[in-house]
Amino acid sequence: MTSIAKRILARATAVLALMAGLLLLAACGNGGERDTNTIEVWHAFNAEETSVFRKIVAEYEADWKKRTGEEIVIDLKYVSYGDMFTKLRTAALGELTPDVAFMDSIKVTDLALGQALMKIDEMPAFKRRYGTIAQAREEFVGASFDSGIVNRKGVVNLYAYPVQTTTVALFWNREMFRRKANELRAAGLDPNRAPRDWDELTAYGKVLTDEAAGVYGFGMHGSMWFNFPIFNMYRMEFVQYDEKGRASSAVNSPNGLAALERLSTLAHSGIEGGAWKRSALGPDAGFINRKYAMVMMGPWMVESFTNAGLDFDISLIPGPTEEEVERLGLEPEYPDLVETWGQLAYSSSNVGGQSGVIMRTCENPEAALEFLDYFTSEPVQRRWASRLGQIPVRRAAWKDLDTSKYPFMPKFMDQLLLARRIPQIPLYGILESNIFTPEVDLLLQQKQTPQQMLDNLEKAMDQNIMVRVNESLD
């Protein structure tokens, strides 16, 4: 061996030894161990929300010290909204999950079934404060709170608190309504208000549509989440559980049929601009460009629409027709509203937002729960709403809420009262992207009837989702 080769060999050996040493040190480290007075929180708030959140956290830490004389650190870590579930799943493999995570409510079910979360309703602090799940529900926005309730093998528990909630309502362009005021009046419609049931929306749409100019009465979403207002309005159920936790598809019902017939009618009545199609002008872009007079949208678009100089208003999503209410035996969420709201009392919507969960490996779950309770408490939620224009998750904070800076907020709050939770379905991603989207695509293209879609949906759900729910229960 030459001397140069020997020197290189010696250096290579030294480098290898160093690498091995580092690996050994890393292996011997205490990795995931955390101080019990530190609560690590993963959140997905944007910059504006984070700024408010940090102040709330600092006040909580100071308050804790005042009460207990001890230090507590709420260690905030930002994780993007879309990556949160994947990161929690990956971190769980190495037991590196945080103590608390604020995450997409839809994913709570998957984490709960995978035993990754604490059962909040079984924690002493919860029992002391609320007693039962039903009693706790009374204090929160019902539909948002329901997102944290999961049936795991027949046992129902609460796994999350709502920490941020949102919904969609009907946006309508007042200027476009005004321009067609005479025609609307001639058709027996009031140009100064939004439609109250879906037949009326179609009637408004027919007057407002000017196909030659590329203007349409309505811009419809194709995604499942955005169409839940229609499914929920007709009380269409997706899944049902027996007492052992065995799940089966519940879509194939008269209510499901009415919901899909409504979707199909909307798409083919000539008032819809094809917003649901791929590469088409989506509902938000079409509304901004004054191409769609009405769209279902959430509060997050209010600022963009306002900045675009649109003269618009927000109303409750239309309800079913009187004939449909009677035929399907639909019950309003709040019967006393029927007299004043008419068909709008049967309106419904979806629920989005985030839930706060306590991960199973949390070493101080009582402190974690107390932090969640603090964040969702009335004064904090009141501040959160007035600073950010977001709907408080705790109902007490709704009372006398100053919404002067956010005039549309009360309308979304009304809509949220009528909203229903997203169905508790494991593998929601499969349902949405592998099953619902392809089927609704055929429906909207008129390549299958609503009944055919229901049959296909039921079969696909049973084969791809329910079988996985039930296989471990047999």
């Binding site: 061996m1 080769a5 290189i8 060999l9 290579a12 050996t13 480098v15 290898l16 690498m19 994947t86 929690l88 799943r89 769980a92 493999l93 037991e95 998957d110 984490l111 079934l113 995978g114 035993q115 990754a116 795991r152 093998k153 590329g214 094809g274 199609k277 791929r278 590469s279 088409a280 002008l281 199973r360 490996t361 494991p426 593998l427 991603g429 499969i430 992207s433 592998n434 989207t437 392809p438 089927e439 695509d441 055929l442 293209q445 390549k447 299958q448 296909n456 696909a460 996985r468 729910v469 296989e471 471990s472």
Partner: protein, 313 residues
């Protein structure tokens, strides 16, 4: 005696080489070898929706070849393989032809050709999501360039519904995007190979009276076979793994639906996209099984390609 001495030297040289190879081997074993064998192991197990997130691999159920049986009984997977083959055909041959045409066109020292070469290569540098957004605008049924051209050509039905909403045109539309995007890369490879062909061969052909077409078919293309082989195999691997372009151009829906053999299927759900969807739902066992099936397909097709396109002595 001499043979023994040679063997002794050879072993000594191997031993001397071992420490130099060790760093690479260590990286290979840790980052490629171990994950490869572990994913093969996982493909024999199934993660259920009740599997413990904190001990996912410990609580998996052993199913033997169950995942392989399951995916071969799954019409969605079989459909994705069929679509992948179609996509590969739509992308590889036209892609090579386009790259070769560009290379032949620009393989001259003319003013402005360097700029053209850079221009054709530029889309290859762009991220697929950027390209996807541009093409979504081009394919937009309401005022998109493609729609305008279709109206001009009198194909009003397709212009109004949009190319990406037609189940039979989704893959050709996406393949067109990828052919145009990647043509610049193939062009650079072909230009390099063209410059390596000795001019004396063309001079001899000129002496023999060969016309330009004969020179292209009998000299240029045979001499470019290694580049064609390389582009075919990388194109095949690209087709099997294709995900981002489907995600970007179908808005993560997998394309418009179509009914085939009493099953609703997505017209753009090729194997790479299907694999992503399965993996994303924590079905690691099935995802691993799909990976190995795709690996098997890639090896078989690459071997056939190699046999057909390898330059013969």
């Amino acid at each position: 005696m001499a043979r023994k001495h040679r063997e002794h030297i050879s072993i000594r040289q191997d031993l001397e080489a071992a420490p130099f190879l060790l760093p690479f081997m260590a990286v290979f074993v840790v980052f490629i070898g171990y994950p490869l064998f572990y994913s093969l192991f996982i493909s024999l197990y199934r993660v259920t929706i009740y599997s413990d997130f904190y001990d996912l691999f410990g609580t998996m159920e052993f199913v033997g070849l169950g995942n392989y049986v399951r995916i071969f009984q799954d019409p969605v997977f079989l459909w994705s393989i069929f679509l992948t083959m179609v996509y590969a055909l739509l992308m590889i041959a036209p892609g090579i032809a386009m790259s070769l045409a560009l290379a032949l066109m620009l393989n001259r020292k003319r003013r402005g050709f360097a700029l053209l070469r850079s221009g054709f290569f530029l889309p290859n540098v762009f991220d697929i999501y950027v390209v996807g957004v541009i093409w979504l605008l081009i394919y937009n049924p309401k005022g998109g360039l493609f729609s305008v051209l279709l109206h001009w050509a009198g194909v009003h039905g397709l212009a109004d519904s949009g190319v990406l909403n037609n189940p039979w045109l989704v893959l050709p539309a996406i393949a067109l995007v990828m052919v145009l995007k990647n043509a610049g890369f193939g062009m650079i490879l072909f230009l390099t190979s063209l410059n390596n062909i000795s001019s004396s061969i063309f001079e001899a052909a000129d002496v023999d009276g060969a016309n330009p077409w004969q020179k292209l078919v009998h000299i240029t293309i045979p001499m470019l076979k290694p580049t064609i082989l390389f582009l075919s195999i990388t194109g095949l691997v690209g087709s099997l793994n294709a995900f981002a372009e489907i995600y970007a151009l179908t808005d993560d829906t997998g394309g418009t639906s179509v009914r085939v053999l009493d099953t609703t299927l997505q017209s753009g759900r090729i194997s790479g996209y299907h694999l992503f969807k399965v993996f994303n739902e924590s079905m690691y066992g099935e995802a691993a099984a799909i990976s190995f099936v795709l690996l098997g397909i890639a090896i078989v097709v690459a071997f056939i390609n190699f046999k057909v396109l390898s330059p013969k002595d």
